[in-house]
């Protein structure tokens, strides 16, 4: 708690510096540096296995880093004294496979963490949960179980579930990769609404059109390093590195 006291909103809300991570002999991240300002939307793109998802998991300490530094609101993630639960209250995360709790209804999924983790008042949380379900355009689905919802609907519940914690930062890990093409859009619209409200977002995505539309800054990673980055206006047209150009030519 005290460690983040020095942080002010004009400093990067997430400061990733020279981060290294290996799984055994496999080097996944080899010196990644990204600064994210408050309210900024960052898209990370790149071929599969380039360490994008690992990087997101390092930010909320789901995966420990081997070298370098990640500061979230001034709080060093690598600090052994770090209160991981406090960190995770500030950082929401949405996964490719939704990972909703299948034994709970959509509304209960949204309500669980605020009630049991933040110890907030149940009635208050319920009111907010209904509002969040409306925000992700799922009015009327509050009582449905995840198994009864489509992929796109589940993913929107997952977004609402993360938002219920009132996070300062949202991480999206290929959230549309497992969806049917026709439901991708409803999820992207939800994320765009969030971005427009000023939520700080880090997205790992393969949706180039979407990245171009909403990102303030795009990072291209390959084999554990950032090859190239820039604002979308220049990134897509003026990419100079051959790896970036090759990737873009395959995907666009």
């Amino acid at each position: 708690m005290g460690a983040s006291a020095g942080w002010t909103a004009d400093q990067p809300i997430v400061a990733i510096k020279d981060v290294h991570k290996s799984f055994g002999a496999l080097k996944v991240l080899e010196g990644v540096t990204i600064d994210v300002a408050k309210g900024e939307v960052i898209c990370i793109i790149g071929p599969s296995g380039s360490g994008k998802s690992t990087l997101l998991r390092c930010i909320n300490a789901l995966i420990p880093i081997d070298g370098g530094s990640i500061k979230v609101e001034g709080q060093e993630v690598r600090d052994p004294a770090l209160d991981k639960l406090e960190l995770r209250k500030k950082v929401g995360m949405v996964f490719q496979q939704y990972n909703l709790f299948p034994h709970k209804t959509a509304l209960e999924n949204v309500m669980m963490a605020p009630i049991h983790v933040l110890k907030q008042d149940r009635i208050e949380v319920e009111t907010r949960a209904y509002a969040l379900m409306a925000k992700v355009r799922l009015e009327g689905k509050e009582g449905s179980y995840p198994g009864e919802l489509s992929g796109g609907q589940q993913q929107r519940v997952a977004i609402a579930r993360s938002l219920a914690m009132n996070p300062d930062i949202m991480l999206f890990d290929e959230v549309t990769a497992a969806l049917d093409p026709e439901t991708v859009k409803e999820v992207l619209v939800t994320i765009r609404d969030l971005a427009e409200e000023g939520m700080t977002c880090l997205l790992v995505t393969h949706e180039m059109g979407f990245a171009r539309e909403i990102a303030d800054h795009i990072y291209f990673t390959d084999r554990g390093v950032i090859v190239e980055h820039g604002p979308p206006a220049t990134f897509f047209t003026e990419a100079s590195d051959p790896r970036t150009r090759e990737f873009l030519s395959q995907i666009l």
Binding site: R57, R88, F95, Q97, H116, V117, A158, S162, M165
Partner: protein, 292 residues
Amino acid sequence: MSGTRPTTDLAVLTPAADRLARAVEAERSGGGFALRLRARHGVWLGIAFLLAAGAAEAQIGPLPDQGVFATLWRWIPFLLKGFTLNLIISFGAMAIGTALGAVLGLAQISLLPPVRVGSWIATQFFRNSPWLVLLFAIMLLFPYEIRIGDAIIPIPDWVKAVIGFSLPIMANISEVVRGAVQSIPSGQWESAESLAFSRRQTLWMIILPQCIKRMIPPWMNWYAILTMATPLASILGVEEAVNLTQQALVAEDSRTELLAPFYLFLLIIFFLYCYPIARLTQRLERRFTVKN
């Protein structure tokens, strides 16, 4: 990402690959082989009983009160009294085994290495010991009475049998619990962690509630196996169904023509009790696999 599904390279097996994979999965999550009683087993038992009893009846001729059916009829209340003890032993051993097994299973997923390793060793030890050996060990290790102050509390043999049977049940339920927890996709842990749930909260509020459904079929399966194992206690002198059958046969001058009908009658009783459990287990299994 999705559960690993064993497949086969043998083209002849591909039509059955899914079914086989499900069977393997069910057996693995059950922590052991699956018991499969079918209705035809009961029919065979019934036919065997009628044939054996009928043949014996024909041999001795029409002597009133000496007939196989008449003799068996006289002894049925006595035999059923024995079977009640089998049931009592099975209830007791299942209750104790489940309670201890749940604790041991949770210890097997502890983050503390000594707890994890210790519980793993205990689980493997009791899971791989012959039940009869465990029974003998408990019979010999336990005193036949406990003295508390002036009071002497006798421990009847059937209580020792309950304890003896509860040990392998404990170990197998421990494996059922561990298997069920491990069968929950890692994404559930990840998303709970990212919502700042503590490990304890994640386990009790998110993981275990999802495990209960998966544990019920293997749990019932172990109950049926246990029930069918309870006659082992007869070897140790517990007066359950098999022991009383032997007593009844001795009382009937050990007439050989009674042997087959009496034991087949016992088999039928056990079948009538275990078959509905097996059916219910299968129904639940099918329902849960479709849901997940």
